[in-house]
């Protein structure tokens, strides 16, 4: 019998050693470096902030057009434009450190050595963890190269693991045949958690000009359009993973987030929804709280992976 809870539900979670006051994080690349949204969003309320992915040296990004809207979503081919780790640490991180919210730094490299050097560079910084992007579809020889090959995925995570005392989250690509193989590799490499899914590779064509709508020809599909695929993969991942799973892909509402949690995600990341509603993650937090109260659930952790099926 379900009894309605009168006390405040406990939303806190532990993700591979990172304690979050609630399970809702920002997805890398959708929340800038935090400062872009500071006047619009109470950053202190977020479970964690994952800023735009950082590389060893600054990256200028792809030639425009870089984005195109698609049915209930968008394609992007930004090309991982970012300020580089030195500027990030010097100019962007201090801003985020003002808040109580943990900062999980998303990193990517073009070689295992770059990943290793990034991890070493950030090891002495007061950050909550590293999210290692081995799955960006928009750079040649970029992260996805590592995320699609089990042994390379192992090598990257292992290299990062050896250089850092911070918790390591491996961010995985959906553009693979068997996600469970990749999950085993990154676990063996020392990942403390996994996050999925990154964007799905897609394309759009201008039929009048017979040209691709993106300067990069292909791009990463995100937004509500990808949610069913993301949910399926998170559910599959949760069956095989020994480490906590962070679910993302098209989450806009609290109901979306709850689906991921019931499917087995210990935490979620809200991404593209920020572009239409900067407060999207906060609304998700509020909605999860309401759900737990109305279902008489004391702790969010009691809901994780509780999918009922025969």
């Amino acid at each position: 019998m379900i009894t309605k809870t009168r006390t405040q539900p406990d939303l806190s979670v532990n993700i591979g050693g990172i304690t979050l006051k609630n399970p809702v994080m920002t997805a890398s690349g959708t929340f800038g470096y935090g400062e872009e949204y500071a006047s619009l969003v109470d950053i202190d309320r977020l479970g964690a902030v994952v800023p735009k992915g950082i590389s060893l040296i600054p990256i200028e990004g792809n030639p425009p057009p870089r984005i195109v809207e698609t049915a209930a979503g968008m394609l992007n081919a930004i090309g991982l434009q970012n300020v580089g780790v030195d500027v990030f640490v010097r100019e962007k991180l201090p801003f985020l450190k003002q808040f109580e919210t943990p900062v999980i730094v998303n990193i990517f490299g073009h070689s295992i050595d770059e990943y290793r050097r990034l991890a070493r560079r950030l090891d002495s910084e007061d950050v909550a963890g590293l999210e290692v992007n081995i799955s960006c579809p928009n750079v040649q020889k970029g992260g996805c190269f590592f995320g699609h090959d089990p042994s390379l995925a192992f090598d990257v995570i292992h290299a990062v693991r050896r250089e850092t005392s911070h918790p390591v989250i491996a961010k995985l690509s959906p553009n693979v045949t068997d996600i469970s193989v990749i999950i085993r590799s990154v676990q063996d490499g020392g990942a403390d958690a996994i996050s999925l899914i990154n964007t799905l590779v897609g394309m759009a064509i201008d039929v009048d000009r017979r040209q691709p709508k993106l300067g990069n020809i292909t791009g990463g599909l995100s937004g509500p359009a990808i949610k069913p695929v993301a949910l399926r993969m998170v559910w599959q991942a949760a069956q095989v993973a020994r480490v906590p799973v962070i679910g993302l892909g098209g989450i806009v509402t609290a109901t979306d987030a709850l689906e991921f949690i019931i499917a087995g995600a210990s935490a979620v990341e809200v991404g593209t929804a920020h572009f239409i509603r900067p407060r999207a993650a906060l609304d998700v937090i509020d909605g999860i709280d309401v759900y737990l109260r109305s279902h008489g659930i004391d702790r969010i952790t009691d809901l994780v992976g509780t999918l009922r099926h025969e």
């Binding site: 959708t30 929340f31 872009e36 425009p64 809207e69 049915a71 572009f275 239409i276």
Partner: protein
């Protein structure tokens, strides 16, 4: 160059999410519409001309993203405590077609004001503007501001389009006190040709004058031509650039535009108004 800045003005409206209400939504000419919105809160007192709002065209998930629209006109709160924001838009795609169906009192979700607007040098005495089609929208607000807030500044604006139906707001501009010229490519109204043809001719008469400031908004090809002309004439010029964007606040990095000296800059935060000289026009591709 000393500039009048509004952006740091305590009067400037704060950036926030709004649920506005449609007051009027009517076709102006051809596929061009004017949308008048009432904003509920009373604190925005002014919006720098050239800034923009992201307006969602559907409350649901499809179309998903907001669209950027320059402020066409803004009126501070009146007796009813509502401020009025007007935008001009052209129905060219799924989102803007949806907008044409909006009726009075329809709630509209939007965010703004965003980006950097136009600045007017303190010493400018003669303002020349070129508007291509719907590009009139931000220039109208600028013309209105200059004519209201400054003294002794002559505002001359050339409004152009392919044909008569693309030429917008000429009567309203005249009523404000601007000197209005018209060009159409088919010659159906005003001078046959483009706004840049008008400018070439006009600038030869102005070459000796000083304290001229040029502003332009329109298709990228037009702005690239404006760049060549103003460079040749040695005149300062600001342009408002249109770009696809998802967020409007510098987070998605989708609206990058190549600049001459600073690599890719974002139309949403560094722009949409740029000094014409800052843009690498060679790299520009049409939307």
């Amino acid at each position: 160059m000393k500039r009048r800045q509004w952006i740091n003005s305590p009067q400037e409206a704060p950036t926030r999410q709004w649920t506005a209400r449609v007051v009027d939504n009517s076709r102006v000419s051809g596929r061009a519409y004017r949308l008048d919105l009432a904003l509920p809160a009373s604190d925005p007192v002014q919006i720098q001309p050239g800034r923009f709002f992201m307006i969602r065209t559907s409350p649901g998930l499809d179309p998903f993203l907001g669209r950027p629209f320059s402020v066409f006109r803004f009126a501070p709160p009146g007796d009813q405590g509502e401020s009025r924001l007007s935008v001009l838009y052209r129905a060219v795609g799924r989102g803007t077609e949806l907008m044409t169906t909006w009726n009075k009192d329809q709630p509209v979700h939007m965010m703004g004001p965003l980006g950097q607007g136009f600045t007017v040098p303190e010493r400018a005495r003669h303002v020349l503007m070129m508007a291509g089609g719907i590009g009139i929208a931000p220039l109208f607000g600028l013309a209105e501001w200059v004519l209201r807030e400054t003294e002794g500044v002559h505002v001359q604006i050339c409004v152009g389009g392919r044909s008569t139906e693309d030429v917008l707001m000429t009567r309203e501009l005249s009523a404000l006190g601007a000197q209005v010229e018209v060009t159409t490519e088919d010659g159906s109204m005003g001078m046959k040709g483009r706004v840049t043809d008008w400018f070439s001719e006009r600038v030869s008469h102005l070459a000796q004058e000083e304290e001229i400031m040029v502003y332009a908004c329109g298709p990228l090809a037009m702005l690239a031509a404006v760049n060549t002309l103003t460079h040749r004439a040695g005149l300062p010029c600001q342009v408002s650039i249109e770009a696809r964007m998802a967020c409007g606040v510098g987070s998605c990095l989708g609206c990058a535009v190549k600049t001459r000296e600073k690599g890719y800059q974002l139309v949403c935060t560094t722009g949409p108004v740029f000094d014409v000289m800052d843009i690498d026009w060679e790299d520009m591709k049409p939307l």
